[in-house]
């Protein structure tokens, strides 16, 4: 049986972060972009908790708890903005957001 160590947690966290970034860059739907952003934060949470568990310091878990709370606040505001935008345009495709340019 394989032993699961710190490096495995970090690999999963790194993969999650990369997936989140890819989702932000490649997706054209505002909701999916938003999902990618939350994945980034959760990748950080996973790394923090893993470091905390294997390093023996509790501060990482404290920060992870704060990040969860902050992510919730961010979702509340972010979804409000996306809903307001949807009401105006009846679309969530980010390609349409091109009215601001020089």
């Amino acid at each position: 049986m394989m032993h699961v160590g710190l490096i495995h947690y970090l690999a999963v966290s790194g993969a999650l972060f990369a997936l989140g970034l890819a989702c932000i860059v490649l997706r054209r739907n505002a909701l999916l972009v938003f999902m990618g952003l939350e994945m980034n934060l959760n990748a950080a949470n996973l790394a923090l908790v893993a470091f905390s568990r294997y390093g023996g310091h509790a501060e990482g878990q404290v920060l992870a708890t704060f990040i969860i709370a902050i992510a919730a606040a961010e979702v509340a505001i972010g979804l409000a903005i996306i809903v307001a935008l949807f009401r105006q345009r009846s679309s969530m495709v980010t390609d349409l957001l091109r009215s601001l340019k020089g």
């Binding site: 934060l41 950080a44 949470n45 961010e74 903005i81 009215s99 601001l100 340019k101």
Partner: protein
């Protein structure tokens, strides 16, 4: 009572809550409430000049420090917020939307920035930073009936949340490398021999990316032009002044706490490259712009580049120059946004034609715009000239030991010359272009007059009499 250390922040939050409640109970007197909040914030700043702050240094388990540097930045940031509140009261679209929420949110963002100036722990720093960022999501998309404001809000949201993700991920690796998130503990760990330097440098780089969003530093600068153009003018003014100042205050704090990866201090190639690219990106990108608020977005990027010069050069001269530059930049940029708040009152957009014949329609606004643009361009005898001079001085001093800095100084001069072109073009629009036939005199509300007089006085005083602020900045550093 440790909570005495938080007196300025507590006063600010109490003001915001009073504003929210008063706005809900007396909706007919909202304008009065908004002005009351601005005056209240100014009063807190004045009171803080005379109030005794606790003598000892660190609070709440070393997560919060209260030194001269922190108090100085708290006063600057709350003062900025007060001026922005005065602008918000004069801003047409915000008045039509009604309510005191915008003002209350500006104060809450200011409270977050003031906490940032004191942060001595990455958990504290992250929470305070997100208080500012999340409040700005709302401020930028506050005019929710307008497509432009919502688009600006969404763009700021995506980039802001991305920067938060970078920062959180970087913090995880800093924590992994050092086993702590407290600045003092990390400082000790950095000088131990067991530290994995590469892991720490990676984490710090990610944190720098997250901060770069606040400072409008390449590669996290892409939001600036769009958001400045689409957001309500007072919100953009607060982004350009308060948010940027808070970002640089945090960066300076990280440097004072001696948290830069050791490899970066000996060879600041990365910081130098960031400074040069940021500076040139803003200068070149601004050349083709016709919308003034968008132009200010690029100007904000250029100025972030200039400020990074001082950070890269380092030393007491470099850091004092950064503080000096931040203060003079604050006056100049607030003056421009104050002018735009009034001129573009009806539509909240500002292409160059809106400024045509400004010197006939309102001599006061034209004069303020003239001083602010010359100061931003770095022409004596205004604050901007000395700010750029001190930064270049710091770079040249460093160049005596590290010749690569001569190249950086060359880039800075080139960037300043390119930026000069677009600042002067704005002035030509305001002073030389004939006013359209339908143009009438512009009435400047007294709230904006106050802001303009404070800003003009600030630019002129800093331009001819820099010693007090410079001495104070050096004093703050020790």
């Amino acid at each position: 009572m440790e909570f005495y250390a938080l007196q300025m922040e507590i006063a600010t939050v109490v003001l915001a809550v009073i504003g929210l409640l008063a706005g809900a109970f007396w909706p007919k007197h909202v304008s009065l409430i908004r002005r009351g909040l601005a005056e209240g914030a100014l009063l807190v700043v004045l009171a803080s000049l005379f109030l005794a702050f606790p003598q000892h240094h660190a609070f709440f388990g070393d997560t919060f420090v209260l030194d001269r540097f922190a108090i100085f930045f708290k006063q600057i940031l709350l003062g900025t917020a007060a001026l922005v509140l005065l602008l918000a009261d004069a801003h047409g679209p915000l008045r039509r939307q009604g309510g005191a929420e915008f003002s209350a949110l500006v104060l809450l963002a200011a409270a977050g920035m003031m906490l940032l100036a004191s942060a001595n722990d990455f958990i504290f720093l992250f929470v305070a930073l997100e208080l500012v960022t999340i409040t700005f999501y709302v401020l930028n998309s506050f005019l929710r009936g307008e497509a432009r404001a919502l688009e600006a809000g969404l763009k700021y949201l995506v980039l802001g949340a991305l920067s938060a993700g970078f920062m959180a991920y970087g913090l995880a690796y800093i924590f992994g490398a050092t086993g702590s998130l407290n600045f003092d503990a990390i400082h000790h760990a950095l000088h131990g021999d067991k530290l994995p330097q590469g892991v720490y440098a990676f984490g710090f780089g990610m944190v720098l990316l997250g901060l770069g969003f606040k400072m409008a530093m390449v590669p996290m600068q892409i939001w600036a032009p769009d958001v400045y153009q689409g957001a309500p003018t007072p919100a953009a003014a607060f982004l350009a002044s308060g948010s940027k100042i808070a970002g640089f205050a945090v960066l300076l704090r990280l440097i004072f706490a001696d948290l830069l990866p050791t490899a970066w201090e000996a060879q600041p190639v990365l910081l130098m490259a960031l400074a040069a690219i940021t500076l040139l990106y803003g200068a070149v990108g601004g050349l083709a712009q016709t919308d003034l608020k968008r132009l200010l977005g690029y100007s904000s990027i250029t100025n972030a580049g200039f400020l990074l010069l001082g950070i890269a050069a380092g030393g007491d001269v470099g850091h004092a120059a950064v503080i000096y530059y931040l203060v003079q930049y604050l006056f100049a940029v607030l003056a421009v946004f104050a002018v735009l708040t009034v001129v573009a009152n009806a539509s909240d957009t500002a292409d160059r034609a809106t400024l045509a014949g400004l010197h006939r329609r309102s001599p006061l606004l034209a004069l303020a715009l003239l001083l602010a643009m010359l100061s931003l361009a770095g022409i004596p005898p205004l604050g901007g000239a000395l700010g750029k001079f001190f930064l270049l001085l710091a770079v040249l001093l460093r160049a005596r030991v590290d010749p690569a800095f001569y190249a950086l100084a060359g880039v800075a001069v080139a960037g300043a010359v390119i930026a000069l072109c677009y600042y002067l073009r704005v002035l030509r629009g305001a002073w030389a272009d004939p006013a359209p036939d339908a143009a009438t005199r512009i009435v400047v509300p007294w709230t904006v007059r106050v802001v303009l007089f404070i800003c003009m006085a600030g630019m002129l005083v800093l331009g001819v009499w820099p010693q007090p602020l410079l001495n104070w900045a050096l004093h703050c550093l020790h």
